[in-house]
């Protein structure tokens, strides 16, 4: 579990993180979202003891990161895949990490196997593609078999197979009861990965809730209806709903009446339905809705 | 329009691109997909005359890149956002590019404005975040107001707002009648952006079709049905020869039927429907199905 309590980080007058409190629970994948400059990276760095908070506190299972004697056994982190010496081999990189936390050397080969890098383990990390560096970073995070995992943009540079792999992997880690905290800008990806969300903007908490709740709070559900008797159905529904037409296939888009009720009304009037599908908003729509005031660079 | 005809690239014994032929049409966004090592970057580099094909050719509006008189006015490309001198300002970078192709200096300010970098135009590109570099790369691609645009992983490093922006931006470019080819690994993103797909694996063409055809072809379509009278509806559907499975929380999943057919059966028998949703496979599923054996590094998913 990760707990931030009134966490602050100020650089001069700039408030990168401002009075931020949240809890990341074990057994779930928690997404960490926010526009550029929202303070996500700074927060992650404070969780890991790399940056010192100006005020407030962030603890992992009740302790500061720096209080762990062998922190890699408690917390695994992938913040930036490029934090590797380019002239050092993948294996040597993992080896010194392992030694520093008294992790048995056999674990190095294990994690290399898990991420699929065994064959290139002796090669220098400088020659790795972004996807391979990312896998090496993930291997580093897994080294100590930690209970808490932090990933910053883990799918960066991975190909589709790698993306599916890391998503399933994070689900499995959470399923084993670990705490998994993932920051990403790829909302369509996060919608499939994270069960809980912590959303920040301008250094402050915007929302902490489940992904499902987040989407349904910020977007309006609607129902797509296709029927050979569309005109008649539209007349009947018009009294209680806002109805538009899908530009592509002419389906009715009904706001304000749930699908069940539309189905009952259609049956009552003996209207044939060819489609009756409730549509949910996307995480992206919900996110845009909630963060529109805290975005840094607006393009035209 | 981009045409690849029998395009081949060999490095010694390795065949990076193998007799590849496809056409990228104007007026739509075409996605260029493939696993790592499939030859996407090599193909894009050959389109831009950076690499020389071992055999075959690739033409842009009927000509090889090298024969284009003012290439930036025909083709704009974003291959790697980091191809910028770190100590040169964003504006200076665009100015020399504009000069090289006889483009007016005021175009520089136009494209800076288009990508939202006007305020930081005087700053050195070396201090830019990945997202800002990406926007600068896009500005450079737009400089010559080209008819053909190539983007390699354009959303890399962009934040959600930037991602929505570039997606809409590419769709607008296509709507203006331009040819837009986008390569990306982010399939959920590509499903939202591209209406056409060119998919390659191990240097060979796997598929060229519309995105919806691609998905429909390789994933089975099912229909999710909810009703208070499922006990009555289920057997009726089975009688029609459809396959019926019990789905999550009391719904039925029907395969072998369109939602239209199911709706007709329900109406004919006076069955009330609470939901009748055609379920489509995802681009990701379809992609995994088709490229399964063309993947380079396999991680152990089971471990």
């Amino acid at each position: 579990m990760i707990e931030a309590v009134r966490l602050r980080k100020h650089y001069g007058r700039t408030k990168a993180v401002d009075d931020l409190s949240f809890t990341v629970r074990p057994g779930r994948v928690t997404g960490f979202l926010g526009p550029n400059g929202a303070g996500k990276s700074t927060t992650m760095r404070m969780i890991l003891g790399l940056d010192t908070p100006t005020g407030g506190d962030v603890k992992i299972d009740g302790k500061h990161y720096t209080e762990f004697k062998e922190p890699l056994r408690k917390v695994g982190a992938l913040l930036d895949a490029k934090w590797v010496h380019p002239n050092r081999s993948a294996r040597a990189h993992l080896k010194w990490l392992a030694v520093s936390n008294k992790i048995p050397a056999s674990r190095v080969a294990e994690v290399l196997e898990i991420v699929g890098l065994s064959e290139v383990a002796h090669k220098n990390a400088g020659g790795f593609s972004l996807g391979m560096s990312q896998r090496l970073g993930i291997a580093g995070a897994l080294l100590g078999d930690p209970e808490v995992l932090l990933f910053d943009e883990p799918v960066n540079g991975l190909d589709p197979e790698g993306i599916v792999w890391i998503r399933q992997f994070m689900h499995r880690l959470a399923g084993e009861g670990r705490t998994v905290f993932v920051s990403s800008h790829l909302l369509s990806e996060m919608a499939q990965t994270a069960q809980d969300l912590i959303v920040i903007g301008k250094g402050q908490l915007i929302s902490q809730t489940t992904t499902e709740q987040f989407i349904s709070d910020a977007t309006k559900d609607h129902v797509r209806v296709r029927s050979p008797h569309a005109v008649k159905l539209r007349e009947i529904l018009a009294a209680d709903a806002t109805i538009t037409e899908d530009a592509v296939d002419g389906a009715l888009v009904v706001h304000g009446i749930p699908a069940e009720q539309i189905g009952e009304i259609a049956a009552e009037h003996q209207i044939v339905l060819h489609e009756l599908s409730p549509q949910r908003g996307s995480l992206e729509e919900a996110f845009m809705q909630l963060t529109k005031e805290s975005v840094e660079y607006h393009a035209h | 329009m981009i045409e690849a005809i029998g395009l081949t690239k060999r490095y010694g014994r390795t065949v990076a691109v193998d007799d590849l032929s496809f056409t990228v049409q104007p007026g739509r966004v075409t996605g260029f997909l493939g696993p790592n090592g499939a030859g996407k970057s090599t193909t894009m580099r050959m389109m831009l005359g950076l690499d020389r094909p071992t055999a075959g050719r690739v033409l842009i509006d009927g000509k090889p890149y090298a024969e284009l008189h003012r290439p930036l006015r025909t083709v704009g490309a974003l291959l790697d956002a980091k191809w910028v001198h770190p100590n040169r300002s964003a504006r200076a970078h665009l100015r020399w590019l504009a000069k090289s192709n006889g483009l007016p200096a005021k175009r520089v300010d136009e494209v800076l404005d288009a990508v939202g970098l006007t305020q930081v135009a005087g700053k050195n590109a070396g201090g830019f975040s990945l997202g800002m570099s990406q926007r600068l790369g896009i500005a450079a691609a737009l400089l010559g107001d080209p008819k053909v645009l190539l983007f390699d992983e354009p959303v890399n490093g962009l934040d959600p707002e930037g991602i929505v922006w570039i997606r809409t931006f590419m769709q607008n470019l296509a709507a203006e009648g331009r040819t837009v080819l986008v390569s990306s690994h982010l399939l959920s993103e590509m499903a939202l952006t591209a209406s056409e797909l060119v998919v390659i694996g191990r240097g060979k063409l796997i598929s060229q079709s519309t995105t919806s055809e691609f998905i429909d072809r390789s994933t089975g379509n099912t229909v999710l049905v909810r009703s208070p009278q499922l006990a009555k509806l289920g057997p009726l559907l089975v009688d029609k020869g459809f396959t019926v499975h019990d789905g999550a929380d009391g719904a039925l999943t029907v395969s072998g039927a369109t939602s239209d057919q199911i709706g007709d059966v329900a109406a004919a028998n006076g069955v009330v429907l609470h939901e009748l949703s055609p379920q489509r496979g995802s681009l990701e599923e379809a992609f995994m199905q088709l490229t399964g054996d063309a993947v380079e590094y396999h991680a152990e998913i089971g471990k």
């Binding site: 003891g49 720096t66 762990f68 934090w83 080896k95 010194w96 | -």
Partner: protein
């Protein structure tokens, strides 16, 4: 011990320490070989054998030590290090110990290598190491390198950039301390308290016995030769303490 092992793995799993060591060896021993080869047999003295090791090769060792930390900043592996070992002081002290030790060993190899080469090329010269002063002059090189490495690491931690750290160290060691002597009247008085001058004083052979004393000639040192070494070490350690405090407070 764990942390020492960590730093040892880090140091020996990249190529630059090997290259720097080889370069230091070639420069140090090579210079002696050139001098020995161009001096008439029988004319060589102990003081001359250590020109290369105490001047040229020392610079290379300073650079190597500074690189050991600046590359960590350059490639952000310092963050990986602080994630693995949140106690930044012990992580950096371990690095200092390992690098200083290796620099020391390298110093002894270069010093005795130079001496050996001189003996080989000029067999008639009196190069026997007899007196305490002579032992100090040759074997003291290792101590000098070890302490120099500490100083270079401190500068590296403070500056964080390779170019800056290397420039500071080279200008300081090779130019600045020598040039201060040019200042009329006070110049040599200041020099008596400069770290690298004191390091040279430590190596100096007894007056009149050798041209080697030219290295620190004309300066009226207030400290004994061992005192000078302690003073050099004191400065290096003080600078390291400052660097460690800064590193601890700074965001990584």
């Amino acid at each position: 011990m764990t942390l020492l092992a960590v730093e040892r793995i880090k140091l020996f799993s990249t190529r630059s320490p090997y290259w720097c060591s080889a370069l230091a060896l070639v420069l140090g021993v090579g210079l002696t070989a050139i001098i020995a080869a161009s001096t008439d047999d029988g004319q060589l003295s102990i003081g001359v054998t250590q020109f290369g090791s105490s001047q040229l090769a020392l610079s290379v060792v300073l650079v190597m030590a500074a690189l050991a930390v600046t590359t960590e900043y350059r490639f952000s592996t310092i963050r990986a290090t602080f994630l693995a070992v949140p106690n930044r002081t012990s992580a950096l002290v371990a690095k200092t110990v390992v690098v200083a030790f290796i620099a020391g060993v390298l110093g002894e190899i270069i010093a005795f290598g130079s001496w050996g080469v001189a003996k080989l090329l000029s067999p008639a010269s009196d190069l026997a190491i007899n007196t305490g002063g002579e032992w100090r002059h040759v074997a003291g090189i290792g101590l000098l390198y070890g302490i120099g490495a500490v100083l270079a690491i401190a500068v590296g931690i403070l500056v964080r950039q390779t170019a800056g750290a290397v420039a500071i160290l080279l200008v300081w060691n090779m130019l600045l301390e020598g040039l201060i002597g040019i200042i009329p009247k006070v110049g040599t008085k200041i020099q008596a308290w400069l770290p690298f001058q004191n390091a040279n004083n430590f190596l100096a052979l007894p007056a009149g016995s050798d041209p080697g004393e030219g290295m620190a000639a004309g300066i009226d040192f207030k400290l004994s030769q061992w005192g000078s070494l302690a003073y050099f070490a004191g400065i290096a350690v003080a600078l390291l303490v400052v660097a460690l405090i800064v590193a601890k407070r700074r965001d990584a």
